[in-house]
Symmetry: C2
Subunit: 234 residues, 2 copies
């Protein structure tokens, strides 16, 4: 009987150890599943906190043209948007060794503009340049930046589904970002880029009216293509 009881005690110990191991694994798997899935409860709590924060600090900052897509994405339990831009035309003076956000901005528009409007912006910039002593010196760039949406995903599987949708619909510069605690965010980025140097701030304008008309027609087509791309996510 003593042998049996000793055996039983050993069994008990095994059992406790075994269950403890299982428990640890399940805890691990509960938070990060085998495809990095975060529990729905945890994810929805993060989503609520984030979307509340956005409402608070950037109210009205979601671009009008992209609101439907953002709402559509946010209606899914496995996703929420963290930032977005519907697509825009920008002009800026590139300052050497500076990131774009630190450059001097001349112009931003989320809608197609005509050449006359753009000329006015440039003219007014050059008038300011002449009247100011410490002027910025550099190359003036004109860029069309297509839509970009950052979407936090609950699992690698969810990220994969969204990424494949993006890549197949023409957003071929899309990819997953990996944040703190391996949080996954899909960046939806298209390849509809246009970016050219117009002139140096010290130079006279070198582009003919004929070319600029052609350029702004091309930019208008880019805006249309961007609208078509966006409509695929609605």
């Amino acid at each position: 009987l003593q042998t049996v009881i000793r055996l039983k005690t050993t069994e008990m110990r095994y059992r406790v150890v075994a269950h403890a191991k299982i428990h640890v694994e399940y805890l691990r798997i509960n938070f990060y599943d085998h495809d990095m899935e975060i529990s729905l409860h945890t994810f929805l709590a993060e989503k609520a906190t984030f979307l509340k924060k956005v409402d608070f600090s950037r109210k009205g900052s979601v671009d009008e043209d992209i609101e439907d897509i953002v709402n559509n994405i946010n209606s899914h339990d496995d996703y929420f948007t963290t930032s977005s831009c519907s697509g825009r035309l920008v002009a800026f003076v590139e300052v050497a060794n500076q990131r774009k956000k630190n450059c001097e901005w001349l112009f931003k528009s989320h809608k197609a503009v005509d050449l006359i409007t753009f000329r006015k912006v440039l003219d007014s910039y050059f008038q300011t340049l002449q009247s100011s002593s410490g002027k910025t010196s550099g190359v003036i760039w004109l860029k069309f930046e297509p839509l970009i949406i950052h979407v936090r995903c609950r699992s690698l599987q969810a990220a994969k589904q969204l990424l494949n949708l993006a890549l197949n619909s023409g957003c071929r510069n899309s990819g997953v970002m990996i944040g703190k605690r391996l949080r996954l965010t899909v960046a939806l980025r298209s390849t509809l880029t246009l970016a050219l140097p117009l002139q140096h701030t010290d130079q006279m304008q070198m582009l003919s009216d004929e070319y600029l008309e052609f350029l702004f027609q091309t930019i208008s087509i880019k805006f249309t293509e961007n609208d078509q791309l966006r409509s695929k996510y609605q």
Copy 2:
């Protein structure tokens, strides 16, 4: 005694079930760890197969300027490169509703070129156009495409490390691709883009010599910046 033995049998059953569960979890975790890690053995086998295939079918296709980086990446057990381009200047006729690879290509160069060389290419293209009856019609684009490297990663943690290195060194269009069986590939992509429409094939040239000189100087700077970016990975 019978009670004790019955209890012992129950314990045994629990123990077997418990161990079986642990075994299943470990099998799962062995193939995909809690951060999607593939076992070193499996990954190295895939790497060997892939790199052998590349040597076989695309021998000599790794761009000269990028060979050192590719070799550097491939010297790590957690990574291998699946495709790469060191950066290039391209010109092509955009055909409506066609992906770039299906467009008519006029020019590709992995080194900076001078305007005279580029002009010769354009002139010869227009001569061909005049002499051919079924000519391609569309917009001629000039694009600088910075370096791009695709790197398969053994785990999400390994992908995160490479991605952060890329994002911090200026490759801000980088991201992770998710393939079959959740295979992870980091696409290293920079933002050093330049892309402009030159003219429609039916139009006369609209860009002045002065602007084209300025443009090719800017492109030359892009090649230099691309070289500097590349050197960060060596």
